[in-house]
């Protein structure tokens, strides 16, 4: 009786150990699958990140190029005596340019190779001597037919030749371009 019980217990132990040993390869395969999965995930993320970084770099470069072109456009820039370190936009020239781009489709399409599919808006702060201010704005160029847009901002000054006291006002140039 006692011998039979001992044999039974020994057999049970042996079966448990055998079960564990048979589970080992399955566990190893599971761990390997997990590691391979993680490695694949990293490689995909690294690839995505590289694409994202390249796209951001390219977009930044394009934005800077366009801002540079706008700053150097004789149709918009301030007289030589008024240009200092930052971009300076002549208010009268800007108004004439805006009107031309609004009314003349041929003129607008002739600027397409230079300014591309974009919208260029300028806002400026007109301060009075009491410290109060009004925000004014105008869209200089609009050749953007897209709903998803990405803005790029640069700060400049707006020069008003008719105002000798406060000729240079703080301005924000925003370029909207198609996102993605």
């Amino acid at each position: 009786m006692r011998r039979a019980y001992t044999r039974c217990v020994r057999n049970a132990r042996f079966e448990k150990r055998a079960q564990l040993q048979s589970m080992e390869p399955i566990l190893i395969v599971m761990f390997l699958a997990l590691i391979i999965g993680l490695l694949l995930l990293f490689s995909l993320r690294i690839g995505d990140r590289e694409v994202e970084v390249t796209a951001t770099k390219e977009a930044s470069k394009q934005d800077l190029l366009l801002l540079g072109r706008i700053a150097n456009l004789p149709e918009l820039s301030c007289p030589k005596s008024e240009s200092a370190k930052t971009y300076c936009i002549d208010m009268f020239k800007a108004e004439a340019f805006r009107q031309l781009m609004k009314d003349d489709d041929v003129a607008r399409s002739s600027y397409y190779p230079l300014l591309g599919a974009s919208e260029i808006a300028v806002e400026w702060i007109d301060m009075d001597s009491n410290g109060a201010s009004i925000n004014k704005s105008m869209v200089l160029y609009d050749n953007l037919n897209s709903s998803g847009v990405r803005p790029a901002v640069a700060y400049s000054t707006m020069y008003n030749p008719a105002s000798p006291g406060a000729a240079r006002m703080f301005a924000t140039v925003t370029i909207y371009r198609r996102a993605g």
Binding site: F31, I35, R45, S133, Y155, S156, G165
Partner: protein, 151 residues
């Protein structure tokens, strides 16, 4: 080495690899701005300071940089007897109100003791902090106009 010890070493290695994987995953899922983005933003905020320094202050009839220089030097003659520091503060407030404040950006624009703060806590770390020099009238010294952008 016994078989049990070898299994333990294998298990430890697997655990180490998994922890390494999690650390790498967290590192790559970081959404902080890239170096290119940071450089572009620093350039944008530097252009903000330069444009501000060249903006004319209507109550004084001269550029902001000159009024700011007079404020730092304690020279009240520039703005028809008005305190140049008060005029500097007014101009800074108006420009910021229409630009960074409206865009919801947290900032601290400071020139010596003259400060305009919105959303920047005293102990907050800054994301960008460009500055430009402000020269005293007559070139007797200089200070700094600093724009700190906070998260």
């Amino acid at each position: 080495m016994r078989r049990g010890q070898m299994e333990m070493v294998g298990l430890v290695m697997v655990v180490v690899i998994i922890i390494l994987g999690i650390v790498l995953y967290l590192a790559f899922s970081d959404k902080s701005p890239s170096l290119t983005g940071k450089a572009k933003d620093t350039q944008t905020y530097t252009s903000f300071l330069t444009a501000l320094s060249e903006t004319d202050v209507p109550s004084c009839g001269v550029a902001f940089s000159q009024v700011a220089g007079a404020c730092l030097a304690g020279n009240p003659s520039l703005c028809d007897g008005k305190d140049p520091c008060v005029e500097t503060q007014k101009a800074m407030r108006e420009v910021l109100r229409h630009t960074l404040y409206r865009q919801g950006i947290n900032y601290n624009l400071s020139l010596g003791k003259v400060e305009n703060v919105s959303g920047c806590l005293a102990n907050a770390s800054e994301m960008y902090s460009p500055s430009i020099p402000v020269v005293y009238p007559g070139g007797g010294g200089s200070g700094k106009l600093t724009l700190s952008i906070c998260p």
